[in-house]
Symmetry: C2
């Protein structure tokens, strides 16, 4: 029955099935260990057909990264109402992010673990996605600073660093939440808001944590 | 002159030179692209000698991960005075962390990017190191909660999530700081303290960021 059905499917649908199988296999086994045989079998098609449609293991992996990155960015965008205050936008964005990574653990593994470390062109595909998310967070921090101050005094570099920290925290939490039974997307998002926004909130009010001026050179590593 | 000098070196010293060359090469080129020829040349020894001492590319890479992980954990430990309050310990730990990653960018690249995604046994080497650092941060958060409350009410899972978020933020910031000219270790540490501790501080005082109860189901991704 599978064979007949498969033959009548349009190319685009079949390609998506191959990508589904590939994301699952790459996400579970890693890029190196994943075999084209396994991917073809999981997709219910022959290996030559996978090569015919997606060309090579490299191109198939690139197609997976591109599809998963696009889906993640679209999920975050769709989750955020841009007319809300900055902290609410961040909350909605985080919830959408953690919901999506929880529902697509293999896709997240492809993006977070696999794609970043097998050289070009894979790494730059993910870098582009990450930069888009960092830009979104950066802009939220800038808006929040503007709302809090008449004369915003967060230097550009500080904002950039805060955005990097927040995105890194979200990446780490998503991997942890997926590996920890019973952690919901909402809990992960609330943890990060607790962690980040209360701190950013203080910062917006010009109440940063104060580094101890006297102790900088002593027992700390230079 | 190099040859004579090399011949008289004790094995341990020569091994360290090979590891220095290997960390540099793996960190800059990535594990797959790095060649044993290049590593041997950079170490100023013959390729057979590298194989004689370190056995294989896999074993050499494992030795690099182990050495760099140990050095990083020791640097953080050495940078922290355990008798200080929790926020000061975190500050000192972060400064030591960012100082070490800034001074050893290739070592950090090996740990953060290369080691995590080439399967076992590499990944578990880094996981062990990361777990040690997460345990240290977790314990600081628990101590801080105990200092802030007579009856600490941060659930264990929330503490675990916060520690994951903080470590993920630090990892992301270290990569960003190394890629951004002029960002010092102190600035990176201060950014993260601003981001994290002010937020954690609020949390300790039972002032978490409040998720909007009413808006949870509407425009957010389910």
């Amino acid at each position: 029955m599978g064979a007949v059905k498969t033959k009548r499917m349009p190319r685009a649908v079949r390609e998506q099935q191959m990508l589904d199988a590939a994301v699952r296999t790459f996400g579970q086994r890693g890029y190196m260990a994943a075999s084209m045989d396994e991917i073809a079998e999981l997709a219910g098609v022959s290996k030559p057909l996978v090569y015919l449609y997606l060309n090579s293991k490299e191109d198939l992996f690139t197609a997976c990264i591109r599809r998963e990155a696009k889906a993640l960015v679209e999920a975050v965008r769709a989750g955020v109402r841009r007319e809300l205050p900055a902290d609410r936008q961040l909350w909605e964005g985080l919830r959408a992010f953690f919901t999506h990574t929880a529902q697509n653990p293999e896709g997240w593994s492809v993006l977070h673990l696999q794609a970043r470390t097998h050289g070009e062109p894979f790494a730059s595909e993910v870098t582009a996605m990450r930069e888009e998310i960092v830009a979104f967070v950066t802009q939220l921090i800038v808006v929040a600073a503007r709302e809090a101050h008449r004369d915003p005094d967060l230097p550009e570099r500080e904002v950039a660093g805060l955005a990097e920290a927040l995105v890194g925290a979200a990446e780490s939490l998503a991997a942890w939440a997926n590996a920890t039974p019973g952690v919901t997307a909402r809990q992960a998002a609330a943890t990060l808001m607790n962690f980040a926004w209360a701190g950013l909130g203080n910062l917006m009010e010009s109440r940063p944590w104060q580094p101890p001026a006297a102790a900088t050179g002593s027992a700390t590593a230079q």
